[in-house]
């Protein structure tokens, strides 16, 4: 294993579809937490309904993939309403508790035996993404530079994912530079003040929750296309916490934070995994088995977060002065 191959592999992950999918979900989370101050600890729940929206529509109900996409976005919007309507009039912690619980309940329901005729239970669903790859306009072949390379299908998906990211960024930029975005940021600072000025904070929070949730759902739908098979147990709570770590790394409440965070984090994670694996296979670290990289990876995320909080609490692209304004 040489260092150039490892770096190439890490770079490939950082610009590949998985990183882009995490960016999509982080764009949603950034709208929730970064701009509106909503504590959503269940972004993975939106990803789950998004992924299954596509998979179930196509496999169980035989609908076209494009319709599946629309259904997937609809499901995430509905989930946002279900979560938001009862909790957003209450204190912030109620949404936090509800999101974490509902995301986990959704996973358990989707994997349950009684749901198997629809969701496939623990086995999930597969072969629903053919229509997407059939529509690939790119000629078959290998694309890339040096060790970083994608085949036509991968590149098609990657472009689609980053295209959606671009859409998300443009929408976020337009929203946050408008009077709507001003109210949203006001709610993050002090909801009562905003209300005293005649703005219906509840409606704004609900809109923000739906917007961010739909981007979570979009991320889920792209996961489904990427893997071409999905099963419920990949939507564990740690996906949400990875997302949080990535968002904090990039910079909360900034336009580019949710892009920078996942890209860098995926680069570091792959670099770390591959280096460990390389060292294990070369017997440099005899006490280390190849399978140890999973738990160590969690430890790495923890270390990154700690370093971040000490040296750059505002994240990589955040504004420190603004971040610390309430800390006196």
């Amino acid at each position: 294993m040489d260092i150039m191959t490892i770096l190439a592999l890490s770079l490939e992950t950082a610009i590949g579809p998985i990183a882009a999918i995490y960016v999509l979900a982080a764009i949603g989370l950034n709208m929730h937490f970064g701009y509106t101050g909503l504590l959503n600890f269940g972004q993975v729940g939106f990803m789950l309904v998004g992924a299954y929206g596509v998979a179930v529509s196509v496999t169980t109900f035989g609908l076209p993939l494009s319709v599946g996409f629309v259904i997937s976005l609809g499901c995430s919007a509905v989930l946002a309403l279900i979560l938001g309507i009862p909790t957003l009039r209450l204190r912030a912690d109620y949404l936090a508790i509800s999101t974490i619980a509902v995301a986990e309940v959704l996973r358990l329901v989707y994997r349950a035996e009684f749901a198997r005729p629809v969701t496939g239970g623990v086995y999930g669903r597969n072969s629903f993404a053919d229509a997407f790859y059939d529509a690939n306009p790119l000629p078959a072949g290998s694309y890339g530079v040096g060790d970083v390379d994608f085949n036509a299908g991968e590149l098609w998906l990657t472009l689609a994912c980053w295209g959606l990211v671009a859409l998300g960024l443009v929408m976020t930029a337009l929203l946050m530079n408008s009077p709507w975005g001003r109210v949203i940021k006001g709610i993050r600072e002090d909801e009562d003040a905003v209300r005293s000025l005649g703005k219906d904070a509840f409606t704004y929070k609900l809109q923000s929750l739906v917007f961010g949730g739909v981007f979570g759902g979009l991320a889920g739908a792209m996961i489904a296309l990427n893997q071409q098979n999905i099963h419920p147990d990949q939507f564990m709570p740690q996906v949400t916490f990875y997302l949080w770590a990535m968002l904090l790394l990039g910079g909360v409440g900034t336009l580019w934070g949710p892009v920078v965070g996942p890209v860098i984090m995926w680069f570091l994670l792959t670099l770390f995994d591959e280096t460990l694996r390389g060292m294990a296979s070369m017997d440099v670290l005899p006490f280390l088995a190849t399978s140890d990289s999973g738990p160590l990876r969690h430890a790495l995320v923890g270390v990154v977060l700690m370093v971040l909080i000490v040296y750059r609490p505002q994240g990589l692209v955040g504004n420190r002065k603004e971040m610390l304004v309430n800390v006196k």
Partner: protein
Amino acid sequence: MSSDATPGAPAAGRDLMSGAEPAVGSGKADPILRADGVRRSFGGLTAVDVDHLEVQRGTITALIGPNGAGKSTLFNVLTGFDRADAGEWTFQGRKFNGLAGHKVAQRGMVRTFQLTKALTRLTVLENMLLAAPGQRGERFFGAFGRWMWTGQEAANRERALELLARFKLDAKKDDIAGSLSGGQRKLLEMARSLMVEPAMVMLDEPMAGVNPALVQSLLEHITSLRDEGTTVLFVEHDMDVIMGISDWIVVLAQGQVIAEGRPADIRSNQQVIDAYLGAHHDEPDAGGAGDEGDRKEGQP
């Protein structure tokens, strides 16, 4: 009447009060706010228990009373930021009890908070712009159509800068509100409430922590606000401010209105003296504006 001797006596507002009896729950010629049986208790403590209260349109009415009298609680209840246990009130003839806080503000009754609520990570100008009513770009889908709201935004910005200049905050317009001092935040909150173009502003201790030189110009501003037709209801502890600017004074103690009247009536009201002012204010010529000895009277 000693009030006539007060420098800069706001004549217009007092004329509107000429028909009103200086008695608890007295009727006003043209009340903008009319409240009946408003009660709010916290456990065993009755914080507010107002039988009948009317506020005359186009005047400056002061709400005074000792600490814990229930002034802020009454503000909260009337503006939909707290739930009343009982009571009905109308504003400009419309029923307001049970109305959510943002709707109260939309319908022309805007309040400020005793503990300032500056939106700290927004700039001073953004704080102001946020408050402007009826913005087209404030709707989710409207936000995407910039061409629809840039004109409105420019007009709002102009108005905001004007207000900021009046409140001596124009130099700070691009600073984040979190960097303002306590007094500056009070000023910002007051200016921001005026951005809503309210029919009535309710100011909870607007002068607290504002330097004396600025207090004078703020008072002038409040007076001109009144002269332009805005009704002002404010809570204040500084007796000079209250006596100098108010057209009408309502005294609250332990949740109940114990007296109402013109400044002169209040100054000589024995009940008010006992409950709030203290004996010092009873002396015939002690109530004039600028009497330094009295400045902090009434504040425990």
